[in-house]
Subunit: 306 residues, 4 copies
């Protein structure tokens, strides 16, 4: 490497309005529905002179993007976050001239009806989490050249199995002091993003189903490593959902160490653990079809939250 | 007020080991159980000379408290967090001579079994939240003078109703610009602590039931203000559970403001809201029985988390 | 303890507007000043019927409190957070009839001028932290019966010494496995609240000075335990500032454990540590003058942040 | 898009040990030094069978990586985080056979000596922030084919100017209600990553200098938009540091809205602002030299924190 003295130029750039907290109530009947969202818009295009000259002539204010997000929550928010995001992204690309590409990232917080007399209440809910449903929609180009990519997913899905997990037969080096484990707790806080090859019949049902397939696989497959479990989870989802092209998984190995109570004359027997915060293993993997369509800019991030 | 030049002395003091992350698995049968806890110990007593002279002769290390917490998770952790906390607090007061009083604060994180084939899996769970069950146990004195106080509760219980809430008829002053609201969203992230007058038949059932009574009241009672709703929730819990002496509630009024989309020609009709983070109203109230037993030091806090 | 069936009544209650993020710029000259605040108001008084009947006739909306906070930032915000808080608290008690007592809690975030050409820039700053200056002002009663309490303080003041700290000679029990330490890292994230006996000549100078005395004591006094260090820090502050009546300190013992690299043939010699997040020792102590004036309701909390 | 039914295969994958909290004290003389780090390792290579077969034969445990990180803190931690990261990355690529590429991400928390008697204390410090120094080192390949990329940077650098900023002349659409602003507060929490074309003479001095150039530019250049300011900051850094190839900047536009106190008869005059949390504008841009060397995998992330 040598010192570099070439001309200094603007590289890739993008901007938008991040984290609009939209709460949409549907009150067409006495049985209300709720969608609780965190919506971010991101525009890419001919904004160079805003950077290099301070000329805002091509820059749609982020405040205007915010207004659009709230208006579309009423006019285009009747369905899933994927459809709402598609409507917003198409609008920015098709209606705002300098925009070449738009990305909409959405988090959706889940609510469940308060149980009253054996049924869910019409207009009262409690939040459920910690997991959050996510989507990232990218629309690029105009007319017949327009392309669209939809990513759905879940983050902060905390899952644990108290047996059926081992870690042994690993590579060793001069710094290896870890003992093989033949029966351990396996736990993670999963983030999974799945890229759609085509639109499913029902976006909400797809979310519910993909999530269910993955956690069932986690529960029922014996694990020789978190790596294997992640691959199996992704593979099971792809097998069950032909609408999917690819899944990307990121999973901290949330360690649970058996606590040494034996020195006080009390046998542990795999029942008492300490759960440290840091450090943690962090495993990332993708699972995809060999014939998956081109991902284009589907994975180019914006906020980092999705 | 005047300057103060009196002798400088040690005032009230306490110490302990905070936030021990204990995960307890019960694997007596193939159908495992899990208790996921954050346990803090706090000792009060004759520790003055540790402060004033640096003499640690009366100070049981916080590390020893930590060991005890993990050992007791095996030996005394078969039941509820209230019983586990009582066992720990009694131990410190009865076995460690300089300790006059001990307080144990516990957070319990909830898990639900992964659904597999229509039933919950034997040893796999997902975390559910954001709400956290809490308990704070205080044991003070020895022998016949020993007293015990048990507080149970829930925190971060996020609850929302999309109608059935108003706020009108309020006091006005020169800075009042708020308009009365006759139909608004009411939402909060509730923290409730209930003090037991006596032990219930089943601590876990009491937690589940008290929580259920409160959220059902929130759902079904028309609200003229968050103040009224909190009082009604507390009252309903006390009425349903004679084992309770008192409930303390803290509730941020998580505002949801109707977003002005009318200026763009789109009618809102109470369906599109923005949910700002700050500021928020913050209402705190207690509901108690006139003949409630003395609270003693039950409410003297330690970590601030419980 | 027995079951309790007495009449259910409202207990202590309070409410207000929490976490108003006020940024005040002083631009009287080209050299601007900045005050970056988080302000919470809390009113106590005759609000029973808001709870028990839903009657808001005595309730000043939290929105009105918010407006007042922002107006007073202009009209009464020229000085310290203590004086600003006093102005707000007096207003609510004196002008709003049902209010018996008001508490104002303020966090102040520090900024330092950007260095340009050897001097601080006139109107540009970077934030400095993590520590936050805090104040809590309580005004109670009217007329000649009116009383005022002012608490100042700092939170999240992270401080560490790499030697000059030991912990030995402690009490042992059956669960004690800790070895005495004769040379260890001592680190904490200090929260200190000091109650004024009388107003200092300069509130801002008092903050700076009290903070300086405490951290100098931490640095220069050999520590036989965090308990001793806290007492010495509080005592030093009281000795240097006769305007103070009392200091309360809360200090997590942020453990730094020497990492065992010896097993790989590398001597540690007190140079490589791991800093776990949890658990941590947590020490709380107060230091006060024997002739300190009555604290009244000075320590009754509101948000938990101050 | 159509449904996809091709063979399901493993895609890109990587793993490591994240967030090792290493505190390194240098005590060669009575004047100690401190380095307070959060270190993450990431390995890429021939780990496919860990995923697809559960065979761990090529997997070096993350625990072994952790041990290495702590040992190297003693043996290779005498300099900057960039050099420490390089040593670790080279080790994993050169010594662990299945590893094709290693990435080390490091956060460094700053401390300043406690002032005592006009000088900094020998072994006591307070933390300063919120900004955090960051580095990400990637080493790929072996022997003469080995390549190295070093990224340095800063995150959470909060900076504000109270005048000298405008936003006007922007594009408008049907949803634009924003008024042009000719004098506003400009504030952000900057994250900047700079890629080195070659090693500077002194990594620590480079960090200090690059940071200083950027904040001085922020302070002294009139801003027509945050976009322009970011470009100017990046350009100034590249001009001053020929060792740099490229800078990437991400900057939330932390809005400060003038609060409407005029309705209460109090003129604001740009002195009282409310600082909402969300939403915020989010601007991302890169500035680079036209002859910048190839970035290779320098920007492929791991933890998301760096």
């Amino acid at each position: 490497m040598t010192e570099s003295t070439g001309k200094i130029v603007l590289g890739p750039h993008q901007y938008g309005k991040a984290e609009n907290r939209v709460v949409r109530i549907y009150r067409d009947t006495a049985r209300h529905e709720i969608r609780d969202l965190n919506v971010s818009s991101c525009l890419r295009g001919a904004f160079d002179e805003a950077h290099t000259l301070g000329d805002q002539g091509a820059v749609l204010p982020t405040d205007s993007q915010k207004q659009t997000i709230f208006v579309y929550a009423k006019t285009h928010g009747d369905g899933s976050i994927e459809e709402y995001g598609l409507a917003l992204a198409r609008h920015f690309v098709n209606e705002i001239e300098p925009v070449d590409s738009a990305r909409i990232e959405i988090e959706e917080y889940a609510w469940q009806r308060v149980p009253v007399g054996g049924a869910g209440h019409d207009h009262s809910w409690t939040r459920v989490g910690p997991e959050v449903r996510i989507a990232a929609i990218t629309v690029s180009g105009t007319g017949s050249a327009q392309r669209e990519w939809v990513i759905g997913g879940v983050k902060d899905l905390v899952i644990l199995k108290s047996t059926g997990s081992e870690f042994a037969g690993f590579l060793t080096d001069e710094f290896t002091v870890l003992e093989p484990a033949l029966d351990r707790i396996l736990a993670t806080s999963l983030t999974a993003h799945w890229r759609f090859a085509t639109a499913p019949a029902d976006w909400d049902a797809a979310y519910t189903g993909i999530r269910a397939v993955m956690i069932e696989t986690f529960a029922t497959q014996h694990s020789k490593a978190l790596q294997q479990t992640l691959f199996d989870m992704g593979k099971a989802a792809l097998e069950a959902y032909p609408c999917l092209a690819e899944i990307r998984l990121a999973a901290p190995n949330k360690h649970h160490f058996a606590y040494d109570i034996g020195r006080f004359g009390v046998e542990n027997n795999g029942e008492v653990f300490i759960a440290p915060d840091r450090p943690y293993g962090l495993i990332q993997a993708s699972v995809l079809r060999e014939d998956a369509p081109d991902a284009g800019t589907a994975w180019d991030p914006y906020t980092g939250a999705v």
